[in-house]
């Protein structure tokens, strides 16, 4: 665990021994151990002196000789080795402590502190101090972030078919938004929170949809379904102690399955058609009303005149009409009385029958467009 700490007393007090580089202060600056940092693990070469380019080879040689005499082993030089690596270790330990005992918790985060595995406290936002790493560890959890789970969306190739209460089937896509309410529970209570929430969402959604009719599920009752699913999910997750809050459930898509989509389109087409019939009938009605009123008004006007001078008006109208009619036709006047005239009638040309166009064709029952 704290091996670095145990090394500290291991610093011999033989500082004033007076190394080959002259007497030094109590605190030599780290990394200035004479010939610079050297690897303390490799013993210097034994045979040839000056194998490593150090300053003052003679001093080193002498020192090595002395060392070999006293220990009989290839130990690194006492002064150099001893001066450097306890400080290195100390430095590492300091950095270690500094980095693992100071924690910056953001404004939307909480830090869960475990003391040797056991929960001790929750850190709020700001700079927080804990004991260094092996003793206390911190798990930072974002409690504000709204996470979203999408279940069955329009993009998927496989439909998410859900049974409704009247045993119809709809293709449903929805998303669940949630965040962490209780970081401790979230961290300690549930093995796989995300998968749990997804499974609970699925279960709750199907349970709710199984109690509504197809038409409600397809549109009218969407909001009710959403809020019911949210409530139900929250209830279930609370019994698990999941420590999450369901922020909302949104149905993004509620369509009839592809297999029956044409039939549903047929219904809306029928609605359009019915609307068309009504519009046509209304148009006819308007037209007829205008026409009848117009004709009646015209007759009324003429009748007003006629009543003032019946005979004259009548004759006038008669002659005017005859003029108009007879001016454009071939006329034959027969004067002979009692003589049967021979009339060469012109060959009657076939007349194109003028089909009287009905104002409204009778709608065909159940026909297509």
């Amino acid at each position: 665990m704290d091996t670095d700490m145990t090394q500290r007393p291991g610093q011999p007090s033989a500082m004033s021994e007076g190394g080959p580089w002259g007497s030094r202060d109590e605190e030599p600056s780290t990394g200035r151990g004479g010939d610079g940092p050297r690897n303390p693990w490799t013993p210097p070469p034994r045979g040839e002196p000056g194998g490593r380019g150090t300053r003052g080879p003679s001093a080193i040689d002498e020192l090595l000789r002395r060392a070999r005499d006293s220990f009989g082993g290839g130990l690194p030089p006492r002064a150099g080795g001893r001066a450097i690596w306890p400080y290195l270790l100390g430095g590492v330990a300091l950095i270690w402590i500094a980095t693992t005992s100071v924690h910056r918790i953001g404004p939307q985060e909480r830090g869960i502190v475990s003391m040797l595995g056991s929960y001790s406290r929750t850190l709020g936002p700001g700079i927080n101090w804990t004991l260094p790493a092996p003793l206390e560890s911190v798990a930072v959890i974002d409690v504000e972030e709204i996470r979203t789970i999408d279940l069955g969306s329009a993009g998927e190739e496989s439909e998410k078919l859900v049974l409704t209460g009247d045993q119809n089937i709809i293709n449903l896509g929805y998303s669940v938004r949630w965040n962490i309410r209780d970081p401790q529970q979230y961290a300690f209570q549930i093995a796989d929170p995300d998968a749990t929430i997804a499974a609970v969402a699925e279960s709750a959604m199907r349970a709710v949809v199984a109690n509504v009719s197809l038409t409600d599920a397809l549109g009218a009752g969407r909001n009710a379904i959403e809020s019911q699913v949210q409530e139900r999910m929250q209830g279930i997750l609370d019994t698990y102690g999941a420590g999450v809050r369901i922020q909302g459930v949104a149905i993004k898509q509620a369509d009839p399955p592809d297999a029956v989509n044409d039939a549903f389109k047929e219904v809306s087409a029928a609605q359009q058609a019915a609307e068309t019939y009504l519009n046509q009938a209304r148009a006819y009605s308007q037209q007829l009303a205008a026409q009848s009123q117009g004709e009646a008004a015209a007759f009324d006007k003429v009748y007003e005149e006629y009543r003032l001078a019946p005979d004259v008006t009548r004759r006038r109208m008669y002659y005017e009409t005859m003029e108009k009619v007879l001016s454009g036709v071939n006329k034959t006047i027969i004067e002979a009385n009692g003589v049967t005239p021979y009339l060469p009638l012109p060959a009657i040309r076939p007349r194109t029958p003028t089909a009287s166009v009905e104002a409204s064709p009778q709608p065909q029952q159940g026909g297509g467009q």
């Binding site: 009938a281 009605s285 007829l288 009646a296 009748y303 008669y318």
Partner: protein, 281 residues
């Protein structure tokens, strides 16, 4: 000995050994796990076993001691876990086949029993899964299909929960919740026939809508005709004879107008009313 303290190689080796001993003497038991301490394969102690209503921080988690090298620790999850059941075909009493997905949430509450009876968590899941499946089939097989889509479902779930809990208790587990995730018609005939039913229902609806539209349109037309007739009658009824004359004149103009189709040849008798003055009488 002073030589030893000054020799980094030996020191490092010693430190490593010390660490190893410390590591096998102490164990950090986190909040999320229960520890079964085995001595020569026999469970001797349990750390941090689950108790209801305990607060975190006052559980059995923390730094624990064991005898190094002879005590082993088996870790068992303390959290709520899930058993997902493979899809099951369930036949309801009205002979409808259903595809059912379900899951159970459970927690190991007796790690010692669990270790003795199952050995590992996977084995618990493997034991629970078939039970969940068969309990589900039993319960749902006693009921009608439409009941599955109704609020009565909770009773079914409680029954399944009970039978599953009986088995789970043998493995030191406790069932928290059993839920049907999905109950669907299986692909193929059942699904297709449901689709067919939906289709015909829609087609029927479409026909009804059309017919209704046509009916209302007809009524509107008839009402218009009636209204027009009323207007005519009110106006023309004032003097039927004059109307007859007036309308005849209109009709002649329309019938014999030059732009009307066909050619008109008029043969006028001498005593035609129009030619009265023509004869100079």
């Amino acid at each position: 000995m002073s030589s030893v303290t000054r020799n980094p190689v030996i020191l490092a080796v010693l430190a490593t050994i010390a660490l190893f001993v410390i590591g096998s003497t102490f164990a950090i038991v986190p909040e999320t796990r229960q520890a079964v301490v085995l001595r020569f394969g026999e469970p001797v102690r349990i750390y941090n076993s689950y108790k209801p209503n305990e607060t975190f921080g006052h559980t059995g988690a923390g730094l624990k001691v064991r005898a190094p090298f002879i005590d082993q620790i088996v870790w068992i999850d303390k959290r709520v876990q899930s058993v997902a059941m493979e899809r099951q075909q369930v036949l309801s009493t009205d002979q409808l086949r259903l595809q059912v997905d379900a899951f159970a949430r459970y927690r190991i509450v007796d790690p010692r029993r669990m270790y003795i009876s199952a050995g590992s968590e996977e084995r618990v899941v493997d034991a629970l899964r078939p039970i969940l499946g068969s309990a589900l089939r039993n319960e749902l097989g006693k009921r009608r299909f439409d009941m599955l889509l109704s609020p009565e479902r909770s009773e079914v779930m409680q029954n399944i929960n009970r039978s599953l809990n009986r088995v789970a208790a043998q493995y030191g587990a406790e069932i928290i919740d059993v839920r049907i995730m999905r109950a669907d018609l299986p692909d193929g005939t059942p699904l297709q026939s449901a689709f067919q039913r939906m289709r015909t229902a829609r087609e029927q609806e479409a026909l009804t809508i059309r017919a209704e539209g046509a009916r209302r349109a007809q009524i509107i037309r008839a009402e218009a005709d009636a209204a027009a007739a009323k207007v005519y009658a009110a106006s023309f009824g004032k003097d039927p004879q004059f109307y007859d004359f007036y309308r005849a004149m209109q009709s002649y103009r329309t019938t014999f107008a030059q732009d009307s189709q066909g050619e008109t040849s008029a043969i006028l008798g001498a005593d035609n009313d129009y030619l009265r003055q023509f004869r100079g009488r």
